[in-house]
Protein backbone atom coordinates (compact mmCIF):
# COMPACT_ATOMS: atom_id res chain seq x y z
CA UNK A 1 0.00 0.00 0.00
CA UNK A 2 1.82 3.06 -1.14
CA UNK A 3 1.02 6.40 0.31
CA UNK A 4 1.70 9.19 -2.08
CA UNK A 5 2.64 12.04 0.17
CA UNK A 6 2.76 14.28 -2.82
CA UNK A 7 -0.76 15.50 -3.25
CA UNK A 8 -1.71 15.48 -6.87
CA UNK A 9 -1.80 19.23 -7.24
CA UNK A 10 -4.50 20.26 -9.62
CA UNK A 11 -3.74 22.56 -12.45
CA UNK A 12 -5.51 25.57 -11.15
CA UNK A 13 -3.93 28.42 -13.02
CA UNK A 14 -5.51 31.51 -11.66
CA UNK A 15 -8.05 32.97 -14.02
CA UNK A 16 -6.61 36.28 -15.29
CA UNK A 17 -9.62 38.35 -14.30
CA UNK A 18 -9.45 37.41 -10.62
CA UNK A 19 -6.96 38.22 -7.92
CA UNK A 20 -4.86 35.02 -7.87
CA UNK A 21 -4.24 34.86 -4.12
CA UNK A 22 -7.92 34.96 -3.26
CA UNK A 23 -8.86 32.26 -5.77
CA UNK A 24 -6.07 29.97 -4.64
CA UNK A 25 -6.85 30.36 -0.94
CA UNK A 26 -10.54 29.81 -1.44
CA UNK A 27 -9.93 26.92 -3.80
CA UNK A 28 -8.18 25.01 -1.02
CA UNK A 29 -11.12 25.71 1.29
CA UNK A 30 -13.55 23.93 -1.04
CA UNK A 31 -12.92 20.53 0.57
CA UNK A 32 -13.70 21.80 4.06
CA UNK A 33 -16.69 23.63 2.64
CA UNK A 34 -18.07 20.48 1.00
CA UNK A 35 -17.68 18.65 4.33
CA UNK A 36 -19.45 21.48 6.15
CA UNK A 37 -16.44 22.25 8.34
CA UNK A 38 -16.18 26.01 7.78
CA UNK A 39 -17.39 28.53 10.34
CA UNK A 40 -19.86 31.28 9.42
CA UNK A 41 -17.70 34.03 7.88
CA UNK A 42 -15.34 31.65 6.08
CA UNK A 43 -18.31 29.66 4.77
CA UNK A 44 -20.01 32.78 3.40
CA UNK A 45 -16.79 33.89 1.74
CA UNK A 46 -16.44 30.56 -0.07
CA UNK A 47 -20.13 30.57 -1.05
CA UNK A 48 -19.78 34.01 -2.61
CA UNK A 49 -16.65 32.94 -4.50
CA UNK A 50 -18.20 29.72 -5.83
CA UNK A 51 -21.22 31.67 -7.05
CA UNK A 52 -18.96 33.87 -9.20
CA UNK A 53 -16.21 31.38 -10.21
CA UNK A 54 -17.33 28.71 -12.70
CA UNK A 55 -14.06 26.81 -12.19
CA UNK A 56 -14.65 26.42 -8.49
CA UNK A 57 -18.31 25.57 -9.09
CA UNK A 58 -17.19 22.65 -11.27
CA UNK A 59 -14.75 21.58 -8.57
CA UNK A 60 -17.50 21.63 -5.96
CA UNK A 61 -19.60 19.46 -8.25
CA UNK A 62 -16.73 16.97 -8.47
CA UNK A 63 -16.22 16.81 -4.70
CA UNK A 64 -19.83 16.83 -3.57
CA UNK A 65 -20.54 13.07 -3.95
CA UNK A 66 -17.69 12.27 -1.55
CA UNK A 67 -19.31 13.11 1.82
CA UNK A 68 -22.14 10.65 1.10
CA UNK A 69 -19.67 7.93 0.15
CA UNK A 70 -17.54 8.62 3.23
CA UNK A 71 -20.56 7.96 5.43
CA UNK A 72 -20.41 4.31 4.43
CA UNK A 73 -17.30 3.79 6.50
CA UNK A 74 -16.74 4.50 10.16
CA UNK A 75 -13.99 6.86 11.31
CA UNK A 76 -12.08 3.87 12.72
CA UNK A 77 -12.31 1.95 9.47
CA UNK A 78 -10.86 4.91 7.61
CA UNK A 79 -8.13 5.78 10.08
CA UNK A 80 -6.66 2.31 10.49
CA UNK A 81 -7.38 1.14 6.96
CA UNK A 82 -8.51 -2.22 8.33
CA UNK A 83 -10.80 -3.03 5.41
CA UNK A 84 -8.13 -2.63 2.80
CA UNK A 85 -6.53 -5.91 1.86
CA UNK A 86 -3.64 -7.00 3.93
CA UNK A 87 -1.02 -7.68 1.24
CA UNK A 88 -0.16 -11.08 2.76
CA UNK A 89 -3.78 -12.23 2.71
CA UNK A 90 -4.02 -13.06 -0.98
CA UNK A 91 -0.80 -15.09 -0.78
CA UNK A 92 -1.91 -16.99 2.30
CA UNK A 93 -5.26 -17.64 0.68
CA UNK A 94 -3.65 -18.94 -2.50
CA UNK A 95 -1.44 -21.30 -0.49
CA UNK A 96 -4.32 -22.59 1.58
CA UNK A 97 -6.57 -23.07 -1.42
CA UNK A 98 -3.87 -25.02 -3.22
CA UNK A 99 -3.57 -27.23 -0.15
CA UNK A 100 -7.34 -27.77 -0.12
CA UNK A 101 -7.35 -28.69 -3.79
CA UNK A 102 -4.45 -31.07 -3.28
CA UNK A 103 -6.02 -32.73 -0.25
CA UNK A 104 -9.31 -33.21 -2.06
CA UNK A 105 -7.57 -34.95 -4.94
CA UNK A 106 -5.46 -37.01 -2.58
CA UNK A 107 -8.46 -37.99 -0.49
CA UNK A 108 -10.41 -39.04 -3.55
CA UNK A 109 -7.59 -41.26 -4.75
CA UNK A 110 -7.08 -42.67 -1.27
CA UNK A 111 -10.78 -43.37 -1.03
CA UNK A 112 -10.79 -45.04 -4.42
CA UNK A 113 -7.96 -47.26 -3.24
CA UNK A 114 -9.93 -48.15 -0.11
CA UNK A 115 -12.99 -48.86 -2.19
CA UNK A 116 -10.96 -51.16 -4.43
CA UNK A 117 -9.70 -53.10 -1.44
CA UNK A 118 -13.23 -53.31 -0.09
CA UNK A 119 -14.46 -54.63 -3.42
CA UNK A 120 -11.69 -57.19 -3.51
CA UNK A 121 -12.53 -58.27 0.02
CA UNK A 122 -16.20 -58.48 -0.91
CA UNK A 123 -15.30 -60.70 -3.84
CA UNK A 124 -13.27 -62.96 -1.56
CA UNK A 125 -16.07 -62.91 0.99
CA UNK A 126 -18.61 -63.81 -1.69
CA UNK A 127 -16.52 -66.88 -2.47
CA UNK A 128 -16.26 -67.71 1.20
CA UNK A 129 -19.99 -67.05 1.68
CA UNK A 130 -20.64 -70.37 0.02
CA UNK A 131 -18.82 -71.85 3.00
CA UNK A 132 -21.35 -70.29 5.36
CA UNK A 133 -19.63 -67.03 6.41
CA UNK A 134 -21.56 -63.80 6.76
CA UNK A 135 -20.71 -60.96 4.45
CA UNK A 136 -21.07 -57.37 5.55
CA UNK A 137 -22.50 -55.96 2.35
CA UNK A 138 -22.81 -52.36 1.36
CA UNK A 139 -20.46 -51.07 4.01
CA UNK A 140 -18.70 -48.75 1.58
CA UNK A 141 -20.35 -45.61 0.32
CA UNK A 142 -19.40 -44.49 -3.16
CA UNK A 143 -16.45 -42.06 -3.08
CA UNK A 144 -18.27 -39.13 -4.62
CA UNK A 145 -20.86 -39.37 -1.87
CA UNK A 146 -18.46 -38.47 0.89
CA UNK A 147 -18.40 -34.92 2.20
CA UNK A 148 -15.30 -33.96 4.12
CA UNK A 149 -14.80 -31.09 6.54
CA UNK A 150 -11.61 -30.02 8.33
CA UNK A 151 -11.48 -29.66 12.09
CA UNK A 152 -12.09 -26.20 13.52
CA UNK A 153 -11.04 -25.64 17.11
CA UNK A 154 -13.54 -24.07 19.51
CA UNK A 155 -11.40 -24.12 22.67
CA UNK A 156 -7.80 -23.05 23.11
CA UNK A 157 -6.37 -26.50 23.74
CA UNK A 158 -7.99 -27.91 20.61
CA UNK A 159 -5.99 -25.59 18.37
CA UNK A 160 -3.34 -28.20 17.68
CA UNK A 161 -5.91 -30.90 16.90
CA UNK A 162 -5.58 -32.07 13.31
CA UNK A 163 -7.86 -34.15 11.18
CA UNK A 164 -11.23 -34.17 9.54
CA UNK A 165 -14.74 -35.52 9.58
CA UNK A 166 -16.45 -37.24 6.68
CA UNK A 167 -20.23 -37.49 6.31
CA UNK A 168 -21.72 -40.34 4.31
CA UNK A 169 -25.35 -40.31 3.26
CA UNK A 170 -27.51 -43.38 3.78
CA UNK A 171 -31.18 -44.05 3.36
CA UNK A 172 -31.65 -44.04 7.12
CA UNK A 173 -29.46 -41.03 7.94
CA UNK A 174 -25.78 -40.15 8.07
CA UNK A 175 -22.60 -41.85 9.11
CA UNK A 176 -19.88 -39.58 10.45
CA UNK A 177 -16.29 -40.72 10.42
CA UNK A 178 -13.72 -38.86 12.46
CA UNK A 179 -10.02 -39.13 11.97
CA UNK A 180 -8.28 -36.93 14.54
CA UNK A 181 -4.87 -36.47 16.05
CA UNK A 182 -3.70 -34.46 19.07
CA UNK A 183 -7.08 -34.18 20.74
CA UNK A 184 -7.31 -31.93 23.80
CA UNK A 185 -6.89 -33.95 26.99
CA UNK A 186 -10.33 -35.06 28.29
CA UNK A 187 -11.70 -38.20 29.95
CA UNK A 188 -14.27 -38.75 27.28
CA UNK A 189 -15.61 -37.22 24.10
CA UNK A 190 -19.06 -37.03 22.57
CA UNK A 191 -19.80 -36.69 18.87
CA UNK A 192 -22.94 -34.69 18.03
CA UNK A 193 -24.76 -34.27 14.75
CA UNK A 194 -26.60 -30.95 14.49
CA UNK A 195 -29.36 -30.42 11.94
CA UNK A 196 -30.06 -27.12 10.22
CA UNK A 197 -33.23 -26.74 12.30
CA UNK A 198 -31.16 -26.99 15.48
CA UNK A 199 -32.01 -30.62 16.31
CA UNK A 200 -29.09 -32.31 18.05
CA UNK A 201 -28.38 -36.00 18.12
CA UNK A 202 -25.60 -37.78 19.90
CA UNK A 203 -23.83 -39.74 17.20
CA UNK A 204 -21.17 -41.47 19.25
CA UNK A 205 -18.92 -41.31 22.28
CA UNK A 206 -15.44 -42.54 23.09
CA UNK A 207 -12.82 -42.40 25.81
CA UNK A 208 -9.33 -40.96 25.97
CA UNK A 209 -6.52 -42.80 24.21
CA UNK A 210 -2.85 -42.67 25.13
CA UNK A 211 -1.91 -41.36 21.69
CA UNK A 212 -4.67 -38.68 21.91
CA UNK A 213 -5.83 -39.76 18.46
CA UNK A 214 -9.21 -41.11 17.43
CA UNK A 215 -10.69 -42.91 14.47
CA UNK A 216 -14.35 -43.03 15.27
CA UNK A 217 -17.44 -43.84 13.29
CA UNK A 218 -20.75 -42.49 14.56
CA UNK A 219 -24.24 -42.51 13.16
CA UNK A 220 -27.23 -40.21 13.26
CA UNK A 221 -30.76 -40.41 11.89
CA UNK A 222 -30.43 -36.83 10.58
CA UNK A 223 -30.37 -36.99 6.79
CA UNK A 224 -27.18 -35.61 5.40
CA UNK A 225 -28.88 -32.85 3.46
CA UNK A 226 -30.36 -31.68 6.79
CA UNK A 227 -27.03 -31.88 8.60
CA UNK A 228 -25.63 -28.46 9.45
CA UNK A 229 -22.46 -29.55 11.17
CA UNK A 230 -21.03 -32.05 13.62
CA UNK A 231 -19.20 -31.24 16.79
CA UNK A 232 -17.18 -32.95 19.47
CA UNK A 233 -17.88 -31.98 23.08
CA UNK A 234 -16.45 -33.19 26.35
CA UNK A 235 -18.65 -34.95 28.93
CA UNK A 236 -19.80 -31.55 30.27
CA UNK A 237 -21.08 -30.43 26.88
CA UNK A 238 -18.34 -27.88 26.16
CA UNK A 239 -17.79 -27.79 22.42
CA UNK A 240 -14.19 -28.67 21.66
CA UNK A 241 -14.30 -28.59 17.87
CA UNK A 242 -16.70 -28.36 14.98
CA UNK A 243 -16.80 -29.62 11.43
CA UNK A 244 -18.96 -27.80 8.92
CA UNK A 245 -19.60 -29.64 5.69
CA UNK A 246 -19.97 -27.94 2.35
CA UNK A 247 -23.62 -27.78 1.23
CA UNK A 248 -24.91 -31.20 0.25
Amino acid sequence: MTTPDQPDRPDFDDPPDRPGGEHRGLREALGAWVLGALDGPARREVEAHVASCPDCAVEVGALSPLPGLLNRLSAEEIVDGRLAVDPGLADRMATELRAVEASVHQRLSRWRATAMVALALAAVAALVAGAGLLVDRGATAPPEDRLVAPVRAQVADAVSTRGEAAALAWEWGTTVELDLQALPDRDSYVLWAVATDGTREQAGTWGATTGRGARVRGASSIARQDLDHVEVTDADGTVLMTFTFPPD
Binding site: T3, P4, D5, P7, D8, R9, P10, G25, R27, E28, A29, L30, G31, A32, V34, L35, A37, L38, D39, A42, A62, L63, P65, L66, P67, L69, L70, R72, L73, S74, A75, I78, V79, G81, R82, L83, A84, V85, D86, L89, A90, M93, A94, E96, L97, V100, E101, R152, G198, R200, D228, E231, T233, G237, T238, V239, T242, T244, P246, P247
Partner: protein
Protein backbone atom coordinates in the same frame (compact mmCIF):
# COMPACT_ATOMS: atom_id res chain seq x y z
CA UNK B 1 -15.77 -27.15 -13.14
CA UNK B 2 -19.03 -26.61 -14.93
CA UNK B 3 -21.54 -23.81 -14.65
CA UNK B 4 -19.52 -21.02 -16.24
CA UNK B 5 -17.70 -20.11 -13.06
CA UNK B 6 -14.18 -18.82 -13.48
CA UNK B 7 -11.21 -20.66 -12.00
CA UNK B 8 -10.60 -20.70 -8.29
CA UNK B 9 -7.49 -18.62 -8.81
CA UNK B 10 -9.34 -15.93 -10.73
CA UNK B 11 -12.10 -15.78 -8.13
CA UNK B 12 -9.55 -15.56 -5.39
CA UNK B 13 -7.67 -12.76 -7.15
CA UNK B 14 -10.77 -10.69 -7.65
CA UNK B 15 -12.80 -11.37 -4.52
CA UNK B 16 -10.41 -12.01 -1.64
CA UNK B 17 -10.35 -8.32 -0.70
CA UNK B 18 -14.07 -7.57 -0.97
CA UNK B 19 -15.07 -10.83 0.72
CA UNK B 20 -12.64 -10.22 3.54
CA UNK B 21 -13.88 -6.67 4.14
CA UNK B 22 -17.47 -7.90 3.99
CA UNK B 23 -16.87 -10.64 6.58
CA UNK B 24 -14.65 -8.46 8.76
CA UNK B 25 -17.28 -5.74 9.05
CA UNK B 26 -19.82 -8.28 10.27
CA UNK B 27 -17.62 -10.45 12.46
CA UNK B 28 -15.08 -7.88 13.68
CA UNK B 29 -12.45 -10.58 13.78
CA UNK B 30 -9.70 -10.72 11.20
CA UNK B 31 -9.01 -14.44 11.53
CA UNK B 32 -12.64 -15.43 11.41
CA UNK B 33 -13.01 -13.23 8.33
CA UNK B 34 -10.11 -14.99 6.64
CA UNK B 35 -11.73 -18.34 7.37
CA UNK B 36 -14.95 -17.12 5.81
CA UNK B 37 -13.11 -16.05 2.65
CA UNK B 38 -11.40 -19.39 2.37
CA UNK B 39 -14.55 -21.41 3.05
CA UNK B 40 -16.50 -19.28 0.58
CA UNK B 41 -14.03 -19.87 -2.23
CA UNK B 42 -13.74 -23.58 -1.46
CA UNK B 43 -17.51 -24.02 -1.40
CA UNK B 44 -17.92 -22.06 -4.59
CA UNK B 45 -15.27 -24.16 -6.24
CA UNK B 46 -16.64 -27.49 -5.01
CA UNK B 47 -20.16 -26.62 -6.07
CA UNK B 48 -19.38 -24.68 -9.23
CA UNK B 49 -21.86 -26.88 -11.09
CA UNK B 50 -24.65 -25.23 -9.09
CA UNK B 51 -23.75 -21.74 -10.23
CA UNK B 52 -26.31 -20.57 -12.75
CA UNK B 53 -25.46 -17.23 -14.41
CA UNK B 54 -29.12 -16.86 -15.35
CA UNK B 55 -30.02 -16.54 -11.68
CA UNK B 56 -27.48 -13.91 -10.67
CA UNK B 57 -23.91 -12.79 -11.01
CA UNK B 58 -20.89 -14.70 -9.86
CA UNK B 59 -20.31 -12.01 -7.24
CA UNK B 60 -23.86 -12.30 -5.89
CA UNK B 61 -23.41 -16.04 -5.60
CA UNK B 62 -20.13 -15.67 -3.70
CA UNK B 63 -21.53 -13.05 -1.33
CA UNK B 64 -24.57 -15.19 -0.66
CA UNK B 65 -22.31 -18.07 0.35
CA UNK B 66 -20.14 -15.72 2.42
CA UNK B 67 -23.19 -14.13 4.04
CA UNK B 68 -24.49 -17.50 5.14
CA UNK B 69 -21.10 -18.50 6.51
CA UNK B 70 -21.04 -15.27 8.51
CA UNK B 71 -24.50 -16.05 9.89
CA UNK B 72 -23.35 -19.56 10.82
CA UNK B 73 -20.51 -18.07 12.82
CA UNK B 74 -22.69 -15.51 14.57
CA UNK B 75 -25.11 -18.30 15.45
CA UNK B 76 -22.36 -20.47 16.78
CA UNK B 77 -21.11 -17.65 19.01
CA UNK B 78 -24.60 -17.38 20.47
CA UNK B 79 -25.23 -21.09 20.59
CA UNK B 80 -22.53 -21.87 23.13
CA UNK B 81 -23.07 -23.48 25.64
CA UNK B 82 -24.48 -26.14 23.44
CA UNK B 83 -26.31 -28.74 25.43
CA UNK B 84 -29.32 -26.53 26.10
CA UNK B 85 -30.29 -26.25 22.45
CA UNK B 86 -31.29 -22.62 23.03
CA UNK B 87 -32.60 -21.10 19.81
CA UNK B 88 -30.35 -18.41 18.34
CA UNK B 89 -31.39 -14.76 18.34
CA UNK B 90 -33.25 -14.24 15.06
CA UNK B 91 -32.02 -10.65 14.69
CA UNK B 92 -28.48 -11.66 13.89
CA UNK B 93 -29.31 -14.89 12.13
CA UNK B 94 -31.62 -13.76 9.36
CA UNK B 95 -30.80 -15.72 6.25
CA UNK B 96 -28.97 -13.53 3.83
CA UNK B 97 -29.25 -13.56 0.09
CA UNK B 98 -27.23 -11.02 -1.83
CA UNK B 99 -28.82 -9.43 -4.87
CA UNK B 100 -26.80 -7.61 -7.50
CA UNK B 101 -27.61 -4.13 -6.19
CA UNK B 102 -26.44 -5.09 -2.74
CA UNK B 103 -23.31 -6.68 -4.13
CA UNK B 104 -22.52 -3.54 -6.12
CA UNK B 105 -22.76 -1.58 -2.91
CA UNK B 106 -20.51 -4.02 -1.05
CA UNK B 107 -17.92 -3.84 -3.83
CA UNK B 108 -18.13 -0.06 -3.98
CA UNK B 109 -17.63 0.29 -0.25
CA UNK B 110 -14.61 -1.96 -0.45
CA UNK B 111 -13.16 0.09 -3.31
CA UNK B 112 -13.73 3.19 -1.23
CA UNK B 113 -11.80 1.61 1.66
CA UNK B 114 -9.00 0.65 -0.73
CA UNK B 115 -8.88 4.15 -2.20
CA UNK B 116 -8.76 5.73 1.27
CA UNK B 117 -5.92 3.42 2.24
CA UNK B 118 -3.79 4.95 -0.53
CA UNK B 119 -4.09 8.44 1.00
CA UNK B 120 -1.51 9.64 3.47
CA UNK B 121 -2.34 9.38 7.17
CA UNK B 122 -2.43 13.19 7.41
CA UNK B 123 -5.04 13.42 4.69
CA UNK B 124 -7.16 10.67 6.25
CA UNK B 125 -6.99 12.21 9.71
CA UNK B 126 -8.03 15.66 8.45
CA UNK B 127 -10.98 14.19 6.51
CA UNK B 128 -12.16 12.06 9.44
CA UNK B 129 -11.97 14.96 11.91
CA UNK B 130 -13.87 17.36 9.66
CA UNK B 131 -16.40 14.82 8.40
CA UNK B 132 -17.03 11.94 10.80
CA UNK B 133 -16.20 13.81 13.98
CA UNK B 134 -18.01 16.94 12.87
CA UNK B 135 -15.11 19.24 13.76
CA UNK B 136 -14.76 22.65 12.20
CA UNK B 137 -11.47 23.44 10.47
CA UNK B 138 -10.48 25.49 13.54
CA UNK B 139 -11.24 22.62 15.93
CA UNK B 140 -9.41 20.10 13.73
CA UNK B 141 -6.42 22.46 13.61
CA UNK B 142 -6.43 22.50 17.42
CA UNK B 143 -6.58 18.70 17.62
CA UNK B 144 -3.80 18.21 15.09
CA UNK B 145 -1.66 21.11 16.29
CA UNK B 146 -1.31 22.61 12.80
CA UNK B 147 -2.52 25.91 11.27
CA UNK B 148 -6.06 26.08 9.89
CA UNK B 149 -4.70 26.58 6.38
CA UNK B 150 -2.92 23.23 6.65
CA UNK B 151 -6.16 21.47 7.64
CA UNK B 152 -8.00 23.03 4.69
CA UNK B 153 -5.26 22.04 2.31
CA UNK B 154 -5.10 18.44 3.68
CA UNK B 155 -8.85 18.04 3.39
CA UNK B 156 -8.88 19.47 -0.12
CA UNK B 157 -5.99 17.46 -1.55
CA UNK B 158 -7.12 14.38 0.34
CA UNK B 159 -10.58 14.58 -1.21
CA UNK B 160 -9.11 15.26 -4.65
CA UNK B 161 -6.81 12.26 -4.39
CA UNK B 162 -9.73 10.14 -3.21
CA UNK B 163 -11.84 11.22 -6.13
CA UNK B 164 -9.04 10.46 -8.55
CA UNK B 165 -8.61 6.92 -7.16
CA UNK B 166 -12.33 6.30 -7.33
CA UNK B 167 -12.37 7.49 -10.94
CA UNK B 168 -9.50 5.14 -11.76
CA UNK B 169 -11.46 2.27 -10.20
CA UNK B 170 -14.56 3.25 -12.13
CA UNK B 171 -16.58 3.98 -8.98
CA UNK B 172 -17.04 7.62 -9.95
CA UNK B 173 -17.29 8.91 -13.46
Amino acid sequence: MAGGLRSLEELQQEFTGPLHAFALRRLGDRRAAEEVVQDTLVRAWRHADRFDPARGSEAAWLFTIAGNLVIDRLRRRQARPVATGRPPDPDTTMPLVADDAEVDRILETWQLAEALATLSEEHRAAIVLCHHRGHSVAEAAGVLGVPEGTVKSRVYYGLRALRLRLEEQGVMG
